[in-house]
């Protein structure tokens, strides 16, 4: 068996006595699109926060490319190749659309602050590279016409897409999407699904995503992990999950 790109082992997060996540085992194999689903308050976002170092891991560990990254600071996790989006959209609202994307290329900047001030060395070449990269990502996400607008002024759906563009500018190996199609209409959702597949193929990405839109999840994911009240309850292909009695019980509130 191949080593999964991301492997969360027995991951637990406790917030002051409240167990938000309890022994989650969650693997994302290379090249797949893995869904993390569950009812409200199941601990899905907490799982992403634990993986990216935003929430403190109480027990268990996170392995990325076989390396233990448990407890790493958020910025270090990002630099190692895990980019994410946020459920409650967290753009730099007062910066322009293109600046939002360019911020994520900061880790690839090779010039020093002194070079920036003096305007020597790789400053111009780097800035040109970062801008071109941001422009091509905005082109891909269909946001190039709004490049100069304030990010906060974009409509909801575009803000979600901008978060993806920003995450991609990190050139990640793994992209974690937290409810990427929330608030989109059915047509936008279908378009976004197609776009995501294309990006995955073009950029050779592995994707993990949280989503409540079951049609979208079943359509796009290759594998699905279901959790409820912080506890993992099922793992399998979309077909297996749809027929799992435990999943049906969790969603319909039986037992």
């Amino acid at each position: 068996m191949k080593i999964p790109l991301l492997n969360a082992e027995k991951l637990s997060v406790v917030f002051g006595g409240l167990s938000a996540l309890n022994g989650l085992d969650f693997q994302i194999p290379v090249g797949e699109i893995v869904g993390l689903i569950g009812p409200n308050g199941a601990g899905k976002t907490t799982a992403f926060n634990a993986i990216t170092g935003i929430a403190k891991v109480t027990r268990g560990r996170v392995l990325f490319e076989g390396r233990d990254i448990t407890g790493w600071p958020t910025s270090k996790v990002a630099r190692t190749g895990i980019a994410r989006t946020f459920q409650n959209i967290r753009l730099y609202e007062d910066l322009t659309v293109i600046e939002n994307v360019m911020v994520a290329s900061h880790t690839s900047v090779r010039y020093s602050p002194v070079e920036a001030i003096l305007g020597i060395g790789r400053v111009y070449a780097d800035e040109r590279r970062i801008r071109h990269r941001a422009e091509s990502l905005l082109e891909t996400m269909g946001l190039i016409d709004t490049a100069g607008d304030k990010a906060g002024s974009l409509p909801y759906g575009s803000q979600r897409k901008l978060e993806v563009a920003r995450a991609l500018a990190l050139e990640p190996a793994l992209l974690l999407l937290d409810e990427p199609v929330a608030g989109m209409n059915p047509r936008e959702t279908i378009e976004f699904g197609a776009l995501l597949r294309k990006i995955r193929k073009d950029l050779n990405l592995t994707i993990g995503l949280i989503e409540h839109d079951m049609g979208f999840v079943m359509d796009i994911c290759t594998r699905i992990r279901v959790i409820d009240h912080g506890i993992p309850i099922a793992w399998g292909t979309p077909k297996e999950i749809q027929n799992d009695p435990k999943v049906i019980a969790a969603y319909l509130g039986e037992g």
Partner: protein, 369 residues
């Protein structure tokens, strides 16, 4: 006929980006030349009092622009510029005084060796003031940036107070409450405005680089900035050290302008004044910091009359010392309540925006006529 003079601008009408860059370069060079002529004229024709105000404006622009980098651009509400100015002022002053002058000044306790034997030129002392202050900021960054928000403000405020106590009690270095007197008035219009322009230039360059974008990202959403790989601590420290460097130099300029420094000069009121400048100018705008600093420094002089006795329509007003601060405080409250973005908001000056503004005003004048 006044309108026709403005047609000059249309010579450079922007056909392409390249033209605009060329136009902006030409306008910048013209403005710089005009300003040099103004300084040269002011230097030989203005009264000593007016020159003093011009020097003050330049020095406060340096500090406001640097302070805005950490408070406005990076969004870290801190209250330490009075402390950094003090570090810079004392460093530069101790370095420029001659050994004989030091022997005469330090009557309580002699200045410790090797400081007592050192005497450096003004430019070198200014540079040293910047470097020493930047070093202090670097050491301070570790404890300071462990906290955020209100706590950061409190910790930096505390640092300013601690430094006051040190300045008052570390007599073999600072001469205690007596301060340092009889400094040579090296600071002139060329020094203060030269460094002022240098500061603005460096700050704008930094803000427009990837480091500047990282600083703004931290201001907008620190967690989201970190999720994009930005090391928040390092970026904040960079902004802090950078601004401390120029605040230190400004301290050196200030010391050699007023020629006498003592701990009481660097109280929290100084920081409070700077805060008013950058808030009124527009927090997060370098242009705003420049405008705010110029306006408040100049306004402080203009408003001197409110502290002096006035007789108006038979009513006699005695004049209350400190009245200016009341006016400034009221102004700050007004801005906070009704115009939070200040004069510039987060916008920056560009020739295009100035031309647009002129066109708008001209258009309105024409429409009215």
């Amino acid at each position: 006929m006044g309108y026709d003079a403005l047609r000059v601008f249309s010579v450079f009408s922007p056909e392409s980006w390249i033209h605009m860059v060329t136009r902006d370069r030409i306008l910048t060079c013209l403005a710089a030349a005009g300003f040099l002529v103004f300084l040269w004229y002011a230097d030989s024709n203005f009264s000593e009092y007016s020159i003093r105000i011009l020097n003050n404006i330049a020095i406060f622009i340096v500090v406001a622009v640097s302070y805005n980098l950490i408070n406005g651009i990076t969004g870290q509400f801190s209250l330490q510029p009075n402390a950094f100015l003090a570090v810079g002022a004392y460093t530069a002053a101790i370095l420029t005084l001659t050994p004989e002058e030091k022997l005469r000044s330090f009557i309580l306790e002699p200045l410790i060796w090797p400081l007592s034997d050192i005497s450096l030129s003004f430019p070198v002392s200014l540079l040293a003031a910047g470097v020493v202050t930047a070093l202090v900021a670097f050491l301070l960054a570790v404890p300071v940036f462990r906290v955020r928000g209100d706590y950061l403000a409190i910790v930096t405020l505390g640092f300013g107070e601690v430094l006051q106590v040190i300045a008052n009690n570390l007599v073999p270095v600072t001469n205690g409450p007596l301060g340092l007197k009889g400094l040579t008035p090296y600071t002139n219009l060329w020094w203060s405005w030269g460094i002022c322009i240098l500061t603005i230039f460096c700050t704008v360059r930094l803000v427009n680089s990837s480091y500047g974008r990282a600083m703004k990202a931290i201001r907008e959403d620190e967690t989201a900035a970190q999720a994009m790989g930005i090391d928040a601590f390092r970026t904040k420290t960079l902004a802090f050290v950078f601004s401390a460097f120029f605040e230190g130099i400004a301290g050196g300029l200030l010391a050699h302008l007023i020629t006498t420094i003592s701990p009481s000069l660097f109280t929290f009121m100084l920081t409070f004044n700077l805060l008013i400048m950058i808030v009124i100018g527009g927090l997060g705008s370098t242009t705003g910091a420049v405008i705010g600093a110029a306006l408040i420094t100049w306004g402080g002089e203009v408003l001197r009359f409110v502290e002096e006795p006035i007789s108006l329509f038979g009513y006699y007003y005695e004049g209350i010392p400190g009245m200016r601060m009341v006016i400034f405080s009221a102004l700050l409250i007004f801005v906070m309540l009704f115009a939070r973005s200040g004069i510039m908001g987060r916008n920056e000056f560009s020739w295009q925006s100035l031309i647009d503004l002129v066109n708008k005003v001209v258009g309105r004048l024409r429409g009215g006529a």
